[in-house]
Symmetry: C2
Subunit: 378 residues, 2 copies
């Protein structure tokens, strides 16, 4: 096996694939990176058995040659050393040669590394996902859907199903829903002419976080296909495969109040700053509680009290307010997360009582919904 | 006590003073920050009893008003909360009022924080250092002297004196020396007309690291004064006070070989890159050893071998070489530290034998000296 490759292309591919490789895996061969050289290009693979990532570098793209001197073959390299080596090599091209004894020679300029490779036969076969039944999304829209929901997944393993994001594609509408049972985040978009339906799958939050990091901001599309226990995200160079979570996701739609008693419109950034300040005095308490008091006029008082340290109070003016007075307390962390996920200048908060969940939406966009359960303090 | 201050000035002062405040101090009052308001300005103080930092904000500077509405007084505020509060306040000015019960009200725009202050009477008095016997240095020169030596202090508490940098001012020459007994770093500069002599003091490496972080790159000068057990660095706004280490610093001058058998000149960056690559395969071993083989011509071979992983070898061309052949092994970490500290394009390495310490200096500047003890492998 042999190939000569542009170092920047290799660095980029390696850093993507490394996102799936863990030093703490139970299958020793998975601490390695698979390199498969074919006449048409080089494929790098990493996997921790939950997530698998394949990155493809074609020999040529837009008339620019990336890979040369190809002799086909496959090898597994220790992922602990390979990325640093590639990153620190002195020249812009790298030559990699593997002999019959699996000795790997990496050269660039006058630097020469000789590493012990492992046979690719021991590397597990990645499941093949049927890609005929798939649908497409713009990459930036997928990233936005992930960012608006994934923060709300549970971090507790007591209900494993809640550590994932619930994905549905029904009636040409795609939705992502996440909840840790104290708050809920949902984003829904129309998908025209979707060739498949997905009644109910749950993708691990960790997988979506990694996917979000790997996908660049781009207007290209990603192709999504699903089997019983795997989901595949495919772009031009990347195959990102994640296992799905087993079990039934709770029915969340009935949690969402259909009517409200109070509607308040506020500037997102102003509210975010005020909540952030109100949360400062109780750093240790995990979900520092703030009080939100809207006594009917448009002045809203946000306050918090930490007996040992002191208190904080701030007034903020609503752009609009209709309905009953509200006095309610909630986790500042949940509110900050929700407001950061809403990429609009103005939000509407809908309350149905001091002990009922309340809803935050951007003004003029019903596709994003953030729900928070209040805390009893008043 | 009361004052109104420009928030950016306060943020800057607070972040400097915080460098001296530790949450883990044995004296509880030292977890707080002292704020002293006088008619001429505001002084912030932090201390962990090893290092003390005073930062002064005058009421006016270059015609710009920083502080207004002054009622003199002093208060101690919990340093755990105060910096975040100041940083996140909404407006560009901050008003701080303290009442007779030590309640502190911090307001900015519509945000109001009420904190419990502590009486300044409990705060320890900082030692007064006599500043008449002092000398001056440009700040950037002091920073450069610190950076070129402090990395070589010992991190082991077995010989506490070696955790500091030895400072001498004798015969109008100022020197900084640090050694952990495996390597040594020294920088010497002429100081014309120094009004004092300092025969031998040792400043904790930690103090110099903090000082280096706080001092901005500036052509202003810093005034340095020393007493038996304290050193004071004073700039326009800053008093930085550190305790000195007790004990006798070892005589290091006789460690430095006076003659050499081999002299090799190399490009600093090229050598650094090569050593860095040669160190990649033995990440865990703390001072990964590399071999340096100069067989008489100007080709030098740098190599390293980690039986489990593989080996690396690279050739580098010397710009000049005179004297005997050299085969020597040393810690790549020490070499990388030394080369990074030398801010010149070309270095000269002087060897006196495979088991004798060798010296690295910039070509054409004798004021910087780096010494490394080799490791026996050949």
């Amino acid at each position: 096996m042999r190939f000569t490759i542009q170092r920047d292309k290799l660095i980029n591919g390696v850093s993507n694939v490394m996102k799936a490789i863990s030093a703490r895996t139970v299958i020793p061969i998975l601490t390695g990176m698979k390199i498969e050289v074919k006449n048409h290009g080089v494929t790098l693979t990493g996997s921790d058995s939950d997530i698998s990532i394949e990155y493809y570098i074609p020999i040529e793209e837009d008339g620019i040659v990336h890979v040369e001197n190809i002799e086909e073959g496959t090898i597994i390299l220790q992922a602990k050393y390979f990325p640093d080596i590639v990153r620190k090599l002195p020249e812009s091209t790298v030559d990699i040669v593997v002999d019959d004894q699996l000795n790997v020679r990496i050269t660039s300029g006058k630097a020469e590394f000789n590493l012990n490779g492992q046979s690719a036969e021991e590397y597990p076969q990645l499941p093949k996902v049927q890609t005929e039944n798939s649908f497409e999304l713009p990459i930036d829209l997928l990233k936005s859907m992930i960012k608006q929901t994934v923060f709300a997944v549970s971090t507790m393993e007591t209900r494993p199903i809640l550590t994932g994001v619930n994905l549905k594609l029904v009636d040409n509408s795609l939705s992502f829903t996440a909840t840790d049972s104290h708050r809920l985040a949902r984003r829904e978009i129309p998908v025209s002419n979707a060739p498949i339906e997905i009644s109910q799958i749950v993708v691990p939050g960790k997988s979506l976080n990694e996917l979000n990091k790997i996908l660049g901001d781009s207007e290209e599309t990603v192709e999504i296909s699903v089997t019983n226990n795997q989901i595949l995200f495919r772009t031009k160079h990347l195959n990102f495969l994640s296992r799905l979570l087993d079990g039934n996701y709770p029915e969340t739609s009935r949690l969402i109040p259909e009517q409200s008693k109070t509607k308040i419109q506020l500037k997102t950034k102003e509210l975010l700053g005020t909540i952030d300040r109100a949360s400062l005095l109780a750093k240790e308490e995990r979900n520092n509680v703030v009080k939100f008091n809207a006594p009917g006029n448009s002045m809203i008082e946000i306050s918090s009290n930490s007996p040992e340290v002191g208190n904080v109070v701030e007034e903020i003016t609503a752009d609009q307010m209709e309905g009953e007075d509200v006095k309610i307390s909630f986790s500042s962390k949940y509110m900050i997360d929700a407001l950061k996920a809403i990429e609009y200048d103005e939000v509407q908060i809908e309350f149905t009582g001091a002990m009922r969940p309340f809803i935050i939406r951007p003004v003029g966009d019903d596709s994003i919904l953030q729900l928070i359960l209040p805390v009893r303090t008043y």
